[in-house]
């Protein structure tokens, strides 16, 4: 009989696992606690594919980061996710920091990072004129890349789905019981049973692990807050600018995003509640101040938004990947903080190989390629636009003016295998509402299209699931109530 595998968590790791497992004879189900995939750390991180110089040599982090980063160009091409490789610099502003940079260089060599070198002030300022002229030297990492973590996650989910994986949203796993040969999972959407489970639950992964295993693990949710600046005519920085790392992480970076915005952050604050993604004046102030060291000309005039993400920091500091000790049929990925996104393809590959060999899963006769999508309208040439709107007139209706997203693309995003069901879901898949007006103009229209496509009343459409409705009723209801 086909093994029933439940992947817990629809983040980048869970979706990458589901995608690879969907290649084998098994019934794969992803249980996601949120309304959409990429609901946790995968929607709010720096989006950087690190070259791999930062992790401690010999650690899983180091090994899987370097491996994962090498897999990125091919993977993103295969599933149709954005990827670029502009490179990165680690800036040193003192002789003390020069020593750190030299240390990082050695570490990079040990980790097997290609192409890195230390460059001096003149070259730095030539490459990146906006960098603080007090810079001393920098570690140049040409292999450092960028992706869009949520778009990648959505694309991985789609590929898994077309190969038979089932995604169940709003099914937050609350308890797991080992049940003979299998598992019973109690979720906010009822009970599920499985032969094998794969715990990819991010900040909640240790909690679930501890329900099954005697060997207790502890995740410290670590919040990082960011500023996102609007894209300008020219990039402010062409590469990712790191400062020398601290024990809380890689420090405050100033980086282009894969879409040409500028990202500042993250702060690093250990918190209690892993779901707390509120921003705070204190952390944003720190980001602003520290980013100025890299970029003295920083202006917050073009900020489009601020956001926060929570990393799953495991107190021992390394990734924990593999079978749960002493629990037959349970697998896990725990403590997947930075460089988790960079390592994601390698993490999924490593664990999938272990699962198929330990459980004797056979490869399917056919593994369908990832569904092809049209190139985004904003990236099309004039000729391509002329052509696409002839084929589909809905490309002629621009809904999001800031990011140039058309009605056709919004409808397509909702109709994808793991489609958008919320305003934020549309935003992550299409960029509608991601721009300088932050959905002020387009959200009423996006809401209307969601209501049409999903067949629900506009008053039922939410921002991000649950009680996050946009509208509280019709004016007829409201005026009637006012009368009572």
């Amino acid at each position: 009989m086909e093994k029933r595998i439940i992947v817990i968590g629809g983040g980048v790791i869970g979706c990458a696992m589901a995608r690879l497992l969907s290649r084998y004879e098994a019934k794969v189900t992803v249980l996601e606690g949120g309304e959409d995939v990429a609901h946790g750390a995968s929607k709010a991180n720096s989006g950087i594919v690190h070259a791999g110089f930062d992790a401690k040599p010999g650690s899983l982090k180091a090994k899987l980061n370097v491996e994962g980063a090498r897999m990125y160009p091919e993977l993103c091409k295969e599933v149709d996710a954005p990827y670029g490789q502009p490179g990165a610099m680690v800036l040193a502003f003192s002789q003390e920091e020069r020593a750190t940079v030299q240390e990082l260089y050695k570490q990079g060599e040990q980790n097997g990072v290609a192409g890195q070198r230390i460059i001096e002030k003149d070259e730095i300022l030539k490459l990146e004129p906006n960098v603080n002229p007090n810079v001393v030297c920098a570690l140049l990492e040409p292999m450092s890349g960028l992706t869009s973590p949520y778009e990648l996650t959505c694309a991985l989910a789609d590929h898994a789905a077309v190969n038979g994986a089932t995604f169940v949203m709003n099914a937050k796993v609350q308890t797991i019981e080992k049940n003979g040969d299998g598992f019973a999972l109690h979720t906010t959407k009822g009970e599920y049973t499985a032969d094998l489970i794969v715990n990819c639950a991010g900040v909640f992964s240790a909690e679930l692990h501890n329900q099954l295993s005697e060997k207790k693990l502890h995740i410290i949710p670590r919040k990082g807050e960011y500023y996102l600046l609007d894209h300008q005519k020219d990039l402010l920085f062409t590469m990712t600018m790191f400062q020398t790392p601290t024990k809380m992480g890689k420090g405050i970076l100033v980086s282009p995003t894969v879409h040409g915005n500028t990202l500042l952050g993250p702060s690093a604050d250990d918190i209690e509640d892993g779901t707390d993604v509120s921003t705070t004046a204190a952390a944003l102030k720190i980001v602003n101040e520290k980013a100025r060291l890299t970029w003295p000309g920083l202006s917050l005039r073009t900020v489009v938004t601020t956001f926060a993400g929570v990393r799953a920091h495991e107190e021992n500091g390394d990734f924990i990947i593999g079978a749960t000790e002493g629990v037959q049929g349970s697998y896990e990925t725990i403590g997947i903080e930075s460089p988790g996104l960079s390592a994601a393809p390698a993490i999924a590959k490593l664990l999938t190989e272990q699962i198929i060999s330990e459980n004797g899963l056979a490869e399917k006769k056919e593994w369908k390629p990832a569904p092809k999508r049209e190139k985004p309208f904003y990236a099309m040439t004039l000729e391509e636009r002329v052509d696409v709107v002839k084929r589909n007139p809905e490309y002629g209706a621009l809904v999001c003016r800031c990011e140039q997203v058309t009605e056709a693309e919004i409808r397509a995003a909702i109709r994808r295998p793991v489609g958008a069901t919320t305003i934020d879901g549309v935003k992550r898949r299409t960029r509608a509402g991601m721009g300088r007006c932050q959905g002020g103009f387009c959200s009423p229209r996006v809401l209307e299209i969601l209501s049409e496509e999903l067949g629900v009343a506009p008053t039922e459409v939410t921002k991000c699931g649950g009680e996050s409705r946009i509208l509280t009723g019709t004016i007829a209801q409201s005026m009637h109530k006012g009368d009572a």
Binding site: T474, I475, A476, M479, H480, G482, D483
Partner: protein, 117 residues
């Protein structure tokens, strides 16, 4: 008794000093035109307001915008809205059409300010 009020006739928003005695306006200063004078007298004795509203049209998603043809007593604003909440409008609605005659017995009609086809 002297009252300070802001004239709402036009965007200048003149600040008017009005002396009222026994419910009667004795003097107005601070106005820069005659309409301010009229406004002050009205405002300090029986204030009036234009009311505009979004009124649902039963068979359409789009509501119709509406206004009182002339100002109504300020105290009747919410009564006016309550009455508009009860109006059962059907498309098409033409701009200028009376959608609620003699609202709250004020003698003033509420009319549509746009058309809904």
């Amino acid at each position: 008794m002297e009252q300070q009020i802001t004239c709402i006739n036009c965007p200048v928003g003149c600040r008017l000093q009005v002396v009222v005695e026994d419910g009667e306006v004795k003097s107005v200063t601070g106005n820069s035109c005659n309409r301010g004078l009229t406004y002050a007298k009205q405002e300090c004795t029986a204030p009036m307001r234009m009311v505009t509203a979004s009124v649902p049209v039963m068979d359409r998603q789009t509501p119709v915008s509406a206004k009182t043809r002339t100002p109504i007593p300020k105290k009747d604003i919410f009564h006016c809205m309550a009455e508009l909440g009860k109006v059962q409008l059907h498309a098409p609605v033409e701009a200028g059409q009376v959608i609620c005659a003699n609202v709250c017995g004020t003698g003033v009609d509420v009319i549509a300010t746009k058309s809904v086809q």
